[in-house]
Amino acid sequence: MLETFLVRAVHVALHLTTALLLPPLLPGLIAKTKAMVAGRTGPPVLQLYYDLARLSRKRAVFSRTTTWVFLAGPVGTVAAVATASLLVPFGSSPAPLHFQGDAVFFAYLFGLARFLTVLSALDTGSAFEGMGAAREVSFAVLAEPALFLGFAALAKSTGSLSLSTMLASPGFSFSRAMAPLILVLAGWAIVYLAENSRIPVDDPNTHLELTMIHEVMVLDHSGRPLALVLYGASLKLLVLGALLIGPLFTRAFGGLLNWAAFWGLLVLLAVGVGLVESFTARLRMNRVPQFLVAGILATAFAFLLLLV
């Protein structure tokens, strides 16, 4: 009894540490991959940690037009995504928090984060930020169905609405559900790139305000709120990444092996994103919906396959 409790406690501790400390590594890995492909040295892998440390010591500048809503964006995003990180299993060990229907809660935590970011962007009254907010919500409308159809497929296959069971269910991976699983992962990969504002949907490195989607909404943030924005974005990379690599695990990976495999797959995922960004250009803004609809179609077919 005590032994199971201790094992569980270690897992929860590892889960929390991973969720809190690991995220800033991922953007660093993506940047390093891109730099190496381009033949550059690039910034250090730990650059975001340094940036966060630097920003946390800086004062924020607030525009006179903004109100408390402006701060609700960064704070709310980190709070919502951090809560979501408790619901998603890292590898095959169950998440610290799990209950029937937590998948829906998980999805709407991201909805809440987006809502607050959009409000905080609109609060500045800037034409740029309003434009970015409009783009963000239009594209979210198309990304969300793919997420939910993926959940539906997994729920149908596992008979559960809890992420910990849906994603880490034994026997799921190498059964007749293989084809639907591949489709779900393909659809979610698109959602992953869109939600994390990566190429080909958005370009997190551009300095051109008129082409930005997510970045332009946080242009006015500085100092600690900016640190929260950057941290929140990296946390999103990790939490949604866990969603994407969860179904790849089987119970074969137990204990510490599970954690090593999880971290390894996260690193691979970051390198993969870096490679995609290295070899493709961004889509034209009015082509983005087609790309997102491909995600909806993939997950919808996964669901249909499981119905038959």
Partner: protein, 504 residues
């Protein structure tokens, strides 16, 4: 055609005595007739006379027709309604001398400065005008919104203000307000040439040092009747083509960067440096400052150096090909380039676009071919053209120009490696009195025009500079009509115009 416009050639001076004042109505009709026949209005400017000067280029025969008229009052009937390419020239005339082009449909300030003659301001502005303070074109209606960008931009670039009238992502109209970089260089040339004039010419547009310095030198050499040896011409050709290589490579890389295509963007950034370093090898400046001087060269290109440069040129060219060819092979890039920034070929011609932007619309106009100067008579280059007028066409024209420039460079360096260096040129004698000369060069952006008028003491009574950007900023506004606002940065980069070249 009976009107006495005087025919001349690139760099060939005309005596003012041979250049009669044409009565203003005939002057106006003369311009309109010629433009209708296919001439281009290369320059239209005023002086303190007050009189108007016009330079019309006949690109098919390689001749220039010049004419002037004396104005009895500070106004004239605007040419713009019938000849759109005059629109910015007429606004400039109004701003510089308070001469009103009556009937001008879009009479707004250009550079936001006081009139030169301290006379009444064309817009009745009191005090020192502030850039960007004017009435912008607006579209009203529900859901229509305005986006203002600049003058301070994200990134280390020059200042300019852009106003978009949008409906969601759709752009109805873009209006561009410049003038933040106005330094008054044209005025600084007056009573010159001054010791600093060459330096100022080199910095008219900092990335086109050779193009502008050559035009300045050509004007002076024309005014003293100095002709250059073929070797000096070839070295100048090397300088101009190296400038073109560096800038076109940089532009193609920047275009790739704007669509987030990293391979070409990263490599071109470095390769551009290789081309710039080749310029530095000869004159000590990556931007080609101090390479030319009136009458010849300040830095001769020794045969030994030419031989050493040739393999470096080949190496840089091989790298350039590798980097740029990645671009044409990426479907995601082609998709972006082909969908954005189309300029209608007829409009491009009417609006008087020049250089890369015009050639991308299928018009094979290149000063090196049409009004050959320096080495381009003996060693012609073929103008690169593309048909579609969009971002892809402008990128494609640059690519084909790179190929042609590389060929020219390699041939020139090989020839220079075989011919002995020449002694430094004699300083130029005083300028001929009361002459008018037009010097055209093809900078990497397009046609550069310098026109000089000397007075009874051989000093500049008027010095006019037309940078290609002066013509082409309006082309960018045209390219944005009906486009997505998110494609603006890409369109902007495909023109890559100079702010200071426009603002002078």
């Amino acid at each position: 055609m009976s009107v006495p416009f005087v025919s001349t050639r690139n760099g060939l001076p005309v005596s003012l005595a041979d250049l009669p004042f044409i009565p203003t109505p005939e002057f106006r009709e003369g311009i309109l007739d010629r433009v209708r026949e296919g001439f281009r209005l290369a320059a239209l400017f005023a002086d303190d006379g007050p009189s108007l000067w016009a330079v019309l280029a006949d690109d098919d025969t390689g001749t220039l027709q010049v004419g002037r008229t004396h104005l009895s009052q500070p106004s004239f009937a605007a040419l713009t309604p019938k000849c759109p390419q005059a629109h910015l020239f007429e606004r400039e005339i109004a701003e510089q001398f308070g001469i009103i082009p009556t009937g001008h449909p879009w009479l707004k300030p250009v550079r936001f400065h006081r009139p030169w003659n301290e006379g009444p301001d064309a817009w009745g502005r009191a005090g020192e005008p502030r850039p960007g303070v004017m009435d912008f074109y607006t579209v009203s209606g529900e859901e229509v919104h305005e986006v203002a960008v600049g003058p301070v931009h994200a990134g280390v670039i020059e200042p300019g203000h852009f106003r978009f009238q949008c409906h969601g992502e759709h752009v109805f109209h873009l209006e561009i307000a410049l003038g933040y970089q106005h330094r008054g260089i044209e005025r600084a040339f007056l009573a010159g040439p001054h010791p600093l004039s060459l330096k100022q010419a080199e910095t008219l547009a900092g990335d086109t040092s050779i193009g502008h310095a050559w035009a300045y030198c050509m004007a002076l050499e024309g005014l003293v009747g100095r002709s250059l040896s073929p070797r000096v011409d070839r070295v100048r050709g090397v300088a101009l083509e190296l400038e073109r290589m560096a800038n076109h490579v940089g532009d193609l890389g920047a275009l790739a960067g704007d669509v987030g295509f990293l391979p070409t963007a990263s490599y071109c950034g470095r390769i551009r440096g290789d081309w710039l370093n080749l310029s530095a090898e000869v004159c000590g400046s990556r931007l080609g400052r101090d390479w030319l001087r009136p009458g010849g060269l300040r830095h001769e290109l020794d045969p030994g150096l030419a031989e050493r440069m040739l393999p470096r040129v080949e190496k840089a060219w091989a790298d350039t090909q590798d980097a740029v060819e990645l671009l044409w092979g990426a479907a995601s890039v082609m998709n972006r380039f082909e969908a954005a920034g189309k300029v209608d070929p007829a409009q491009a011609k009417d609006a008087g676009l020049v250089g890369v932007a015009l050639r991308a619309c299928g018009h094979p106009r290149d000063v090196r071919k049409d009004h050959p100067f320096g080495p381009y008579t003996a060693h012609p280059v073929a103008p690169a053209i593309a048909e579609s007028g969009n971002v892809h066409a402008r990128a494609w024209v640059r690519w084909n120009e790179l190929k042609e420039s590389h060929r020219h460079l390699a041939e020139a360096l090989e020839a220079l490696g075989r011919s002995p260096a020449e002694a430094a040129p004699e300083p130029l004698p005083p300028l001929a009195l009361e002459r008018f000369v037009v010097a055209l060069t093809e900078g990497w952006r397009g046609e550069i025009l310098h026109a000089a008028v000397t007075d009874g003491e051989g000093r500049f009574a008027r010095y006019k500079v037309v940078d290609p950007s002066f013509h082409n900023w309006f082309g960018l506004a045209l390219a944005l009509r009906g486009e997505q606002i998110s494609d603006f940065p890409l369109c902007n980069k495909s023109f890559n115009l100079s702010y200071c070249g426009h603002d002078l």
